[in-house]
């Protein structure tokens, strides 16, 4: 007897749908908790406004990367973009209560310095006859 015609077989599709629904609900709850642990406190507004301001400043800096007339302009504005990345990581770590993200900020700051220095040396070597 195939499972589809067995009247005593458990309702698999219903169980799967219910499981998916519960998983989605759980994920949404988890996301809410992870993104806004302080949503009932006024400091959450400060973090939200800070992230919006950082996004605005990053958009302005990326605009300079796009329109910058020559290579040093673009390197300097990419420097600013990476700086704003470090700042955003700090604000995000505070807003989500994840202290481990500070290590990410350290790594991004390191790579920022290495990248800028390497590009400066590359430009200088290219200028050399």
């Amino acid at each position: 007897m195939s499972p589809a015609t067995d009247p005593h077989a458990p309702d698999v599709t219903h169980a799967v749908a219910q499981g998916a629904h519960e998983a989605a609900h759980h994920a949404a709850e988890q996301a809410t908790i992870l993104l806004l642990p302080y949503s009932h406190e006024p400091i959450a507004w400060v973090f939200t406004i800070a992230l919006v301001g950082l996004a605005l400043s990053m958009a302005l800096s990326v605009g300079r990367v796009v329109i910058g007339p020559n290579v040093p302009d673009r390197v300097v504005s990419l420097d600013v973009v990476a700086n704003i990345c470090v700042a955003s990581i700090a604000v995000y770590a505070m807003a989500t209560q994840r202290a481990g993200l500070i290590v990410v900020a350290i790594v991004v700051a390191l790579i920022l310095f290495l990248g800028t220095t390497a590009y400066a040396l590359f430009l200088e070597r290219r200028a050399r006859p």
Binding site: L123, E124, P129
Partner: protein, 153 residues
């Protein structure tokens, strides 16, 4: 009775909020400077000073917010690193920009390297090229005097 816990909670939250707003303000000023300022050198002014101060404020806010010594140490490591590296990378980029020939704003008042850099030989001299000969002569003369023993007495 005075509630120390709630007092410190209030103070640290206020400090974190103030530092975050300050840091975002400095980052916004930096970004506006990147768009509005006229040449690479003035823009580097905005990027090194404003960016460093903005990131420093936000990371110190992080150190206060988590209230743990290990995380505060990590945050201060970031601040120290950025304070050390931002001037160095700014200097290197400015030097490279001058060598590549990035245009200088026409209303720039003072250019210290004017006439000191030779784009053909990639040589930098301490003084502009006309005085360079006299200066090199003085240096050579002093070196000869030292080598000849005339300055020993």
């Amino acid at each position: 009775m005075f509630d120390y816990d709630s007092f410190f909670q209030t103070v640290s939250t206020g400090a974190v909020g103030t530092l975050v707003i300050l840091g975002v303000f400095f980052n916004l000023v930096t970004a506006i400077g990147m768009v509005r300022l006229p040449d690479v050198y003035t823009r580097m002014q905005a990027s090194t000073k404003g960016g460093t101060l903005g990131v420093g404020c936000l990371i110190i806010a992080c150190a206060i917010h988590f209230g743990s010594l290990a995380i505060a140490a990590q945050s201060l490591l970031v601040v120290a690193f950025i304070f050390l590296t931002a001037p160095v990378s700014g200097h290197l980029i400015g030097r490279a920009a001058y060598f590549v020939g990035a245009p200088i704003w026409d209303r720039t008042a003072h250019d210290d390297l004017k006439g000191c850099y030779d784009p053909e030989t990639h040589a930098l001299s301490a003084t502009p090229t006309e005085e360079n000969e006299i200066y090199a002569g003085v240096v050579r003369q002093r070196a000869e005097l030292i080598a000849g023993g005339s300055l020993e007495d």
